[in-house]
Symmetry: C4
């Protein structure tokens, strides 16, 4: 396997590369990603491209694993390295949402139960404000039929997922996981982690019984400063 | 950013400073604080002031991060360092409660479900005795209206929260977290941690079903020696 | 504070001392003991005595912390060191149960919910066999009245707890924790840990709904070799 | 105790030995095995034999602990070392299932509640696809009667367990744990871990209430690449 020399990235801001590595490590350290899942950022040098790691586990990635893709999710510089099979999730969201610059796909554990039951995952506390009145659940059977293999392995499936996401930040994938998108990497990491936290809280509140007092439509608009958590999470994983 | 030289604290007992740092680290290590939340102590040199860290994550603080505030939550010696936006929680509790000398605000995870459902959080075991017959829940909508942003960003909101706390030790903040207050730092840390433990136990007892046999009014008066947990928690985080 | 020189223990098998330290560390590392709780062994040199640590947190103890008590729970060689206030739990069980040589008192977290609700904690899997058809719950109010302080601070209360234990291995203490007793230290540690594991399993099975298929009376008699877990737990805490 | 020199394994691929050690450490690190449970592989030199560790805790094993067994579970080269009493689980599955080359027996915690209640454990997300429409539960009472000791201590019991497994990959053992089998070690480790993950998700979905949308029969056929998780788990435990 040929690993590209870092000189291939001469014109990529090295902080972008380090932040993409840090995002992978942070999401693994906080239980959102396990052996699977992936993170991408839109290429700051060319909005028609995005950057993502070669297909290894998120906690093991380094800057040498970065690969550039076009928005059709074709690798530009893989040089024989394996790519994530579900990269179409990323490419199709970037196509449909010019405001989005970072995407995470995960099997975030407490989110999956909400994808296979009837109650929508919605904002239960201030740090989950971006979940609004409830996030959509994408059902692959509606697009690939009963005989599907659960994975987003084509442009068409990626596109239908991006359409289900709409103008929101989170879409659940039934029996699989979720996709999280936002204008920048820090915010996407924040939302991926706090979607999981919100799901745990909502599960516990459901177990307590009785009606749940969710955030109202105004409270859901709360702006969130994500610099503080980003700074401490980077320290947590030893990122520079 | 100007960081004050420790000589600015010539007259502050250095053990107070180290204990305030230790309290932050202990609460982070025990899952009560994450990237957010804050701890304060009333200034032993001047009861009209309190000490709190600059606005960074609790697990990362050091003695150099301490800032002095007056009870209107105006920073005396920030020297350009950022301050917690919800510091009014602390100032207004110190104003209203001369018996209180240490306050914690957290998003303690298992406590939030009790703030958005109907069953009060109350003393289920001896180490949660201070929760009494049930703690109050502060609803920001009653003071800031439906169009609020969930945060305690003013004297007025801090004052209404302090009034909801009353003469107790814990007040829940709907969809947000809680505030814990007591006569000294060790006890406030103890109560912040054991409020979380009590919430977990009450959630589990609810899941078991049937009526719960809570502490009675006499059992809730139990005096608690907090020196032993404080000593071992300090060792846990390497504090001196 | 005077710490006794190890020479005070010239005639105590040093492996007994190390094992008592290891038991404290193992129970702390496995979440049965936190800042509180205590472990004791009957003194192999004199069955009318038992050995227990001075009153510090279990995870911090060393062999130098061992104190000898008579069965009235009076310290023989405390030399000014603080003793656990609830040591009567141990002394009274040793008095009543000559077959018992090791006792643990803990606030084992998942056990407390069973002490305040109506369903008995009972053997749900083979490693919890010693819980039998259900363990007794000791209600301090029956002995100390409504105006009690939740703690076992006297011979009389310790005696009533020992009577509630009967010929079993585990007794729950309402709103407080439990006491575990067996013929040897390894078995008591095993049972303290697997009482907690059994409680977690029973709580989950209850959440799944429907009747639970518990161990029958024959299955509850299963003999358990505790040497393997003891060996690996000692490695886990670095004990010799 | 005589420990065989590694030269006894001159003709065993050393990577097989290291992988068997890694599998033990991975399953312990991921909470599937505690002090108990065991892993085996069919001997690549002789399909009528299998390899398993001497009877110590999985997290402590090294290549020097490997023992060869025939399919009647008789040790070939124990040289006095203790063997797992329930090794018949392995031998009888290898006898009945020529397609199986690796077996795990564990007390995987969240799986036990499904073995004592009425709802079958079944595929709730893509990584649990191999659980199909629901896994069988083996009831030892049907074979050993009410007066059994819960353990698989004979060929007969091992055989009845293997028959309950059928052509599947997982069988639950009532009030005890489970057995997982597949064509290769990596896949068996993957399935042992994701059976636990699936159980946690199904428990949470049940707590959310309402009907659960499980994988359909086509989705359950999904092929799974297990190389990526195997690679990162090996790094996690420092395996080569």
């Amino acid at each position: 396997m040929t690993v590209p020399n870092m000189s291939d990235y001469d014109d990529l801001d090295p902080q972008i590369a380090r932040d993409l590595v840090a995002a992978n490590h942070i999401l693994a350290a906080n239980g959102v990603l396990d052996s699977f899942g992936h993170v991408s950022v839109r290429d700051p040098r060319n909005p028609e491209r995005y950057l993502q790691m070669q297909a290894i586990a998120p906690r093991d990635v380094t800057v040498g694993d970065i690969i550039t893709f076009d928005l059709d999710s074709k690798a530009i510089d893989a040089n024989g390295r394996p790519v994530y099979r579900e990269r179409f999730i990323h490419g199709e969201i970037y196509k449909k949402r010019p405001d989005v610059n970072a995407v995470v796909h995960s099997h975030s554990p407490t989110i999956i139960p909400f994808s296979v039951t009837q109650k929508p995952l919605r904002a239960i506390f201030h740090n989950g404000h971006f979940l609004g009145q409830g996030v959509p659940v994408w059902e692959i059977r509606e697009f690939a039929g009963e005989q599907n293999n659960m994975l987003v392995l084509s442009h068409e499936l990626g596109k239908s997922l991006a359409e289900a996401l709409g103008q929101g930040s989170v879409v659940l994938m039934r029996g699989h996981g979720n996709a999280v998108a936002s204008p920048d990497l820090k915010t996407t990491v924040f939302r991926a982690i706090y979607t999981e936290v919100n799901a745990k809280l909502q599960l516990q509140a459901t177990a307590l019984g009785g009606p749940i007092n969710f955030l109202n439509e105004y409270e859901q608009l709360k702006a969130q400063n994500v610099d503080r958590p980003w700074a401490t999470w980077k320290k947590q994983v030893g990122a520079s």
